[in-house]
Amino acid sequence: MGFVDHWRDIFVTLRRHKLRTFLTAFGVFWGILMVVILLGIGKGLERGISQIFKDDAYNSIWLRGAKASILYAGLNPGRPIILTIHDLEALRAAIPGIENLTPRKQLKTEIPVKFGQKTGAFEIQGIYPGNNVIEKTILLEGRLLNPLDVAEARRVAVIGTRVVEILFGKDELPVGQRIDIHGTSYLVVGTFTDVGGEGELRRIYLPFTAFQRSFDPSPEIEWLIFTIKDGFHSYPHEERVRALLSERHRFSPVDHGALDIWNVIEDYKKFQSLFLGIHVFVTVVGMGTLFAGLVGVTNVMFISVKERTREIGIRKALGATPRTILGMILQEALMLTLISGYLGLVAGIGVIELLRSFGIEAEYFREPEVDLKVAFGALVVLILGGVTAGYIPARHAARIHPIEALRHE
């Protein structure tokens, strides 16, 4: 009484009820298809959003002066708040758990930069070395800026790959060359790339102090950026920073318009919980759909058992044990779920791959994919589901009394 012996019976039974078999199989097929597509799209969303956080350190806080929006200490609203390099030092002294502090000072427009005969207009930024961490700058050749560059106001530059392409020939090594930035000669000490896109690759980073000397000696800075140390994530940095700067610049501590604050870590946390939400949603909806499909299988198997009562009676009279009958019905349910589920899995992966090959991408969506672990998991769920869906009708069939079954018409 081997496993294989049942296959013909099963095929014959399923074939005799084509429509019913098709509808049931379709239920499972659809369930798995939806689960796979949902999971694939969920993955795409997750990848799209992680891409946003890939560019910059996820635990950073970015500050920029804006305009006071509340009358405070006799000072009118609408007054611009301008951050300075002294604010940065004040923050460093007063606020615990922060590191990689950097100012960012840049000229209002792109500036012409020359190397030999070639000229290009690029974004010039004066920074501290902490910027390397915050921007996740990827060093290609040479070195990145270091504290000595800033302390000594060295005229050195680290340039992006687009800058290299525009200013240097194919065979020229940029590191060690001198470039002319708005009339001042700077030594290229390194080249970098960044996942932040074209704009960031057109940048030239200079030591903050050298930038001041060459272009703008004022202490004013456009951005003040820092990261939060591990272990300080629950510290209310945003509030403390606002409070400190409100004293220094005399704006209301509750004036949320005075500073632009971009708290990446808060966004990151929000997206983390969004991811979790997406995962739960996808899982619940997917499992629900799948469950509906499996209930369909149970139903059909019940009908099938009912219809075959007499056949089961004959088989029992001829010597089929309850276990044999149980196995027969279980295998039928299992085959129905496995074949249709497998097709659903393949179709789902096909749809996701199609989406991927068309390169459907948006800011929050890229490279949807079904990972093997999920596919394997779905298969396990299917097998378990098939067995579960078949078990109740199968047990019912196994308990059919042969005498009554033989009388059954």
Binding site: D5, R16, R310, I314, A317, G319, L406
Partner: protein, 222 residues
């Protein structure tokens, strides 16, 4: 010689307590090897119940049923199925062939439950069908066969596991007179070859073809 089949003081009733309805009272009889017996009685006489007990499809309340030296009592469903498979060959009035299996597959089915391999059971099934004169009908479905042919397939199936006992329940009830004669001739041939057969009928004509007639009325042998 030890009887092939012995029933002593067999009781059977349905229901429990005061509502219980007695069906069989103190049935006693025995059958020797290679007997050909007709079991006769009007409907409601208890002959179907007796047949079910003899066929190990039903249990009984008191007494003993010995089949070929084995006491058939208090069996689990699993054991009952195995005993039916090995000891009993059934021939039904309505043939009870599985409609989606071919003649060979129908005959091979009990052998499958016996655990025979596909090639063994196919060969055996073919040889039994051959004996029934159906060597040209191996791969026909039941619907493609005449009533007489179907009953012969069913007889081949009943013989396939070489059972101790053939139980035939009104085997000619659904057949015309020519086919009936044909089937009864076949039973006679099988009996001559040494098979033990109990044939249930209410047709005196059919009963007369057997060697002994056992009559049952109101749950008692008469």
């Amino acid at each position: 010689m030890q009887p092939m089949l012995q029933v002593s003081d067999l009781h059977k009733s349905y229901g429990a307590g005061k509502a219980s309805i007695p069906i069989l009272h103190s049935i006693d009889f025995s059958i020797k090897r290679n007997e050909f017996i007709a079991l006769m009685g009007p409907s409601g006489s208890g002959k179907s119940t007796l047949l079910n007990i003899l066929g190990i499809l039903d249990s009984y309340d008191a007494g003993e049923y010995w089949l070929d030296g084995i006491l058939i009592k208090n069996l689990s469903e699993h054991q009952a199925a195995q005993y039916r498979n090995r000891f009993i060959g059934f021939v039904f009035q309505s043939f009870n062939l599985l409609p989606h299996l071919t003649a060979v597959e129908n005959v091979a089915l009990p052998l499958r439950y016996l655990g025979q391999s596909l090639s063994v059971r196919t060969n055996l099934a073919k040889s039994f069908l051959d004996q029934m004169g159906l060597n040209e009908r191996f791969h026909h479905l039941p619907t493609e066969l005449s009533g007489g042919q179907r009953q012969r397939v069913a007889i081949a199936r009943a013989l396939s596991t070489a059972p101790r006992l053939i139980l035939a329940d009104e085997p000619t009830g659904n057949l015309d007179s020519a086919a009936s004669r044909d089937i009864l001739d076949l039973f006679t041939t099988l009996h001559d070859a040494g098979t033990t057969i109990i044939l249930v009928t209410h047709d005196e004509e059919v009963a007369r073809r057997t060697k002994r007639i056992v009559r049952i009325r109101d749950g008692r042998l008469v």
